[in-house]
């Protein structure tokens, strides 16, 4: 059943409005906070040429204009992808952040490729054996996973690997990359290596992405398992599951094609929420594992007081967040044939 344009337009429109709200908010935070926004915008207020930089910033920000014009101007810039030039890196913020986002996305994608199937499978198993020791174990384990501080887990994994002599630091072995002539095109190294049929690099990247991905996956595994278990409990009591059982449909089909199918929409929605939530986890873990992802720029922006990078980061993360949820909503709608969109 095709998704109607109506729903798509409404959902996407709502998302754009949300992003606009975030952009305005990030601007207001900047302007309305104590201190001269031009000074902050310019970054480092000391040193030679500071006065000129501040002057430029004032002009560029249009601080002489009324506030609503400033906001509109900023919105226009943000929506055209112009997030200004980073003070610390002396490069366009959007360019820096894109590279960071690619690294983070790669990590997240791997983590979720592990987490969702695993979590769903565990959840289904628990729901089928409710009240047994297996269920109790799965429930407790998923609670523990969902409540483990990701940064701490990352450190723990990092420590274990280091003491056993495995290096999982950074994204790729630079010497190996140079030696094999690996070039990054999209910023997603796994994809790039695969496209270039550069298997040594591919394996190296995978080996370095896998440990942090495990740390990131802990939370969604726990969440998915718990949600699946709860949804399955409802689904297994549905009338259509009952009648399918009475008609002699095999257990496997009943569990996966009937009951699990009914939990899919809820699972997608929760995964979408968790995916957005995991973005932050991934950033923290990147910091632990020394990967050049968004997490690193978070630190850099704080340590160098790079306001442009920070605002850019806020907008990019919000964009990502909204995108993940919008996609989840649309997929969720696609999954249910009853939803007439």
């Amino acid at each position: 059943m095709p998704v109607s344009l109506n729903y798509l337009v409404r959902r996407v429109g709502w998302s754009i409005a949300t992003i606009a709200g975030v952009v305005i908010l990030s601007y207001l935070v900047l302007v309305l906070s104590p201190g001269d926004p031009a000074v902050k915008w310019a970054g480092n207020p000391r040193g030679p040429g500071a006065a000129k930089a501040i002057e430029n910033a004032r002009k560029e920000l249009g601080l002489d204009q009324p506030l609503y014009l400033q906001v509109l101007n900023f919105l226009r810039m943000a929506f055209t992808g112009d997030l200004g030039i980073s003070i610390a890196y002396k490069k366009p913020v959007s360019e820096i952040l894109w590279r960071g986002l690619a690294a983070t996305l790669e990590l997240l994608a791997l983590a979720y490729a592990i987490a969702i199937p695993l979590g769903a499978f565990i959840g289904v198993m628990a729901s089928l054996r409710r009240g047994t020791w297996l269920d109790g174990f799965i429930q407790s384990a998923s609670l523990v996973l969902a409540n483990t501080p990701t940064f701490w887990l990352g450190i723990a994994i990092f420590m274990v690997l280091s003491t056993s002599g495995v290096t999982a630091y950074g994204r790729v072995d630079t010497r190996l990359a140079l030696a094999t002539g690996f070039r990054s095109i999209t910023g997603l190294y796994l994809l790039d290596a695969l496209v270039q049929l550069n298997f040594p690099v591919f394996l190296d990247v995978l080996a370095r992405t896998f440990p942090p991905a495990l740390a990131v996956a802990a939370y969604p595994v726990g969440v998915c398992a718990r949600v699946t278990r709860a949804l399955m409990a409802d689904a297994l009591l549905e009338g259509f599951v009952q009648s399918a059982v009475a008609w002699g449909v095999s257990r496997r089909a009943v569990v996966w094609r009937y009951a699990f199918r009914a939990t899919l929409a809820g699972l997608v929605q929760v995964s979408g929420l968790a995916f957005a939530y995991s973005l932050v986890d991934a950033m923290v873990v990147e910091y632990v594992f020394g990967r050049d992802g968004l997490g690193r720029f978070l630190f850099d922006s704080v340590n160098t007081s790079d306001f442009r990078l920070a605002t850019g980061l806020i907008i990019v993360v919000a964009l990502f967040y909204v995108l993940a949820n919008t996609l989840a909503d649309i997929v969720q709608a696609l999954v249910d044939p009853r939803v007439k969109l």
Partner: protein
Amino acid sequence: MMNKGHRSNLGGLGELARRAWSRSLRFRAGVVIVVVMVAVAILGPFIAPYPSDGWGAVPPKAAERAGKPPGPEFLLGTDHLGRDVLSRILVGAWLALAQSLAVISIGLALGLLLGICAAYYRQAIEATINYIAEVFLALPAVILALALRMVLGQGIHVVIGSLLLTWWPWYARVAYVYARSIAEMEYITLAKLAGVPGRRILVRHIAANVLPPVLVQAITDVGSVLLEAAAINFLGLGLPPDAPDWGIIVQNGFKYVISMPWISLFPGLFILLTALGFSMLGDSLREELDPKMRRRWRLWF
């Protein structure tokens, strides 16, 4: 024919908790953990073996015992400056609880109020509240903390402020969803037709029914807030680096993770344990709220 004991009114959390206590092992474990943690938070400074932030009585001497592994003298070892890790954890316990409980209580109150209002008044109020909630939901707490940190500088206000801004819309959303389903109930229509004043409908009919599930949700969320607060502090966005917050202790130990892993290990375990305690409470309470989640279950096919 009436039988009073058949199924008592799904009244208050007290009744719910009593049932959960008698039936769920996880609930009891959760209660024990939470009670212990609250006790530690209150008594922490008094029961810590080495008071004064883990330095002990004579701070200069402490420098000589830097990096001691866990042992009988220092149960959880000492950090790179020679401070007793256990003492720091105990002293910092109140910080962890205070941050998360403050966020949950204020966020819950605000969210409930706005969510229920949105569901009841509809139209412009509904759209406005939903939009604002949506915008703040799109910002992870850590990112907001980054903004606040840059604008306002370090401090506990960054942690609580950023978490509050991201958690109230969550409760507004949850309360809104529950309130919407209740607002469609016939008893609301009946009350409106009879001319019951709007405020009474809001309080007695809608809020009274929205409250129990949302409160249970809030108990579960204490753990999540605790984790987020720890992450913010770990990243150095919140409390100053010498505060005995658990997240910060983990951060301090991170630089020495190979040589002195215990510095990071134990505070992390405390975060995990406390968050787990609250989640267990909320989880088992939710199971009690849902009559479908019976304990015994035999596969019938």
